[in-house]
């Protein structure tokens, strides 16, 4: 009888120990990325929506420019492999580096949608837009973003951490 009591108590303690361990690891996993940023490249919908593929209208945070976007991204979060902050003549910009698959789609769109705008979004919110003025063949996309310069550094750090996380833990 006493033995059974001890056995029950021991199994309860073991369960508690593992539960605490699991919760700690889940919590730890959650805390790996404090400010997850899911980046995507979206494209402006054409004037006449013959294909029925246009989604919602978005507004850029500083300029207030409203752009109607297609529903699906041109380059999704799994096809963005790196983002760097770069300094160009007009100021700070982002260089977005893309996988081969994403590069091909961006190339196709840079031909078939020339004149349309590519909108860079994070967590579904637009942060920058660039008009397609030539073909993009090398999978490197440059864009200005509507984020103050003093916040841009942290934004890029968050983006890099998020991309690493997406490429490792979430990639299927």
């Amino acid at each position: 009888m006493i033995f059974r009591k001890y056995l029950t108590l021991t199994s309860l303690l073991i369960s508690l120990f593992f539960s605490v361990g699991c919760f700690e690891s889940i919590e730890g996993f959650k805390n790996e990325i404090e400010n997850m940023q899911v980046p995507r490249l979206m494209i402006e919908a054409r004037g006449i929506d013959y294909g029925g593929g246009s989604g919602s209208k978005v507004t850029l945070p500083i300029s207030g420019t409203a752009i109607k976007l297609e529903r699906d991204p041109v380059v999704g979060e799994y096809d963005i492999i790196n983002i760097e902050m770069v300094k160009v003549d007009l100021g700070l910009a982002l260089l977005i580096q893309i996988t081969d698959k994403g590069s091909r789609e961006l190339y196709r769109r840079s031909v078939t949608h020339r004149g349309s705008r590519i909108v860079f979004t994070c967590n579904g919110q637009p942060v920058g837009a660039t008009r397609l003025s030539g073909t993009i063949e090398d999978g490197q996309f440059y864009t200005f973003v509507e984020i103050p310069d003093d916040e841009l550094g942290q934004f890029v750090i968050d983006l890099k951490a998020s991309i690493e996380e997406l490429q490792t833990h979430y990639k299927y």
Partner: protein
């Protein structure tokens, strides 16, 4: 040569009879030699044989007239029209090599690649020519890669909008 298409027609280029929703319409793209322009003519399929094109035909496709109040679109029909037009650009050997035809081949191939109607073969080219396979027929097609300016793209979009994917 100028691109000078008419906007999407609401009536037949031959009989001038208005199209009604549900009508099947043949769309012809031609090179108007006298005017030095590219042209488009829309008409009922039964009228095609009697219509005298003012130049040689470059390509054609069929479309179904939609109800202007009906906003729903049929992507499959649009893809089928674009596919028809793309393949028809290769039917007339005489016009091969025209800059305008080459631009359309390149543009349509990229659009149809996205819809998996054609598949790029070998290394992805960004200059010269790219070989594609038409998935349904297994036919291999050589597509010239040409620069399409923003102005030209806007003109194409305005006038061939009903088959732009």
């Amino acid at each position: 040569m100028e691109w000078h298409f008419k906007s999407i027609a609401r009536k037949s280029s031959l009989s001038q009879l208005p199209f009604t929703p549900g009508d099947r319409v043949a769309c012809l793209i031609f090179k108007d030699v006298e005017a030095g322009e590219m042209g488009r003519a829309d008409m009922l399929p039964g009228e095609v044989d009697t219509y005298e094109l003012p130049g040689e035909i470059l390509g054609r496709w069929m479309r179904v007239v939609k109800d202007p109040d009906d906003e729903s679109t049929n992507v499959r029909e649009t893809v089928a029209s674009a596919e028809d037009f793309f393949l028809s650009l290769y039917e007339n050997d005489q016009v091969d090599g025209l800059a305008e035809t080459d631009a359309l081949k390149h543009l349509l191939a990229l659009m149809l690649e996205r819809k998996r109607v054609v598949r790029a073969l070998g290394k992805r080219q960004t200059a010269g020519t790219q070989l594609y396979r038409h998935v349904k027929t297994k036919q291999e097609i050589e597509v010239p890669i040409v620069e399409i300016s923003t102005d030209l793209m806007l003109k194409i979009q305005d006038t061939l909008g009903d088959i732009i994917l």
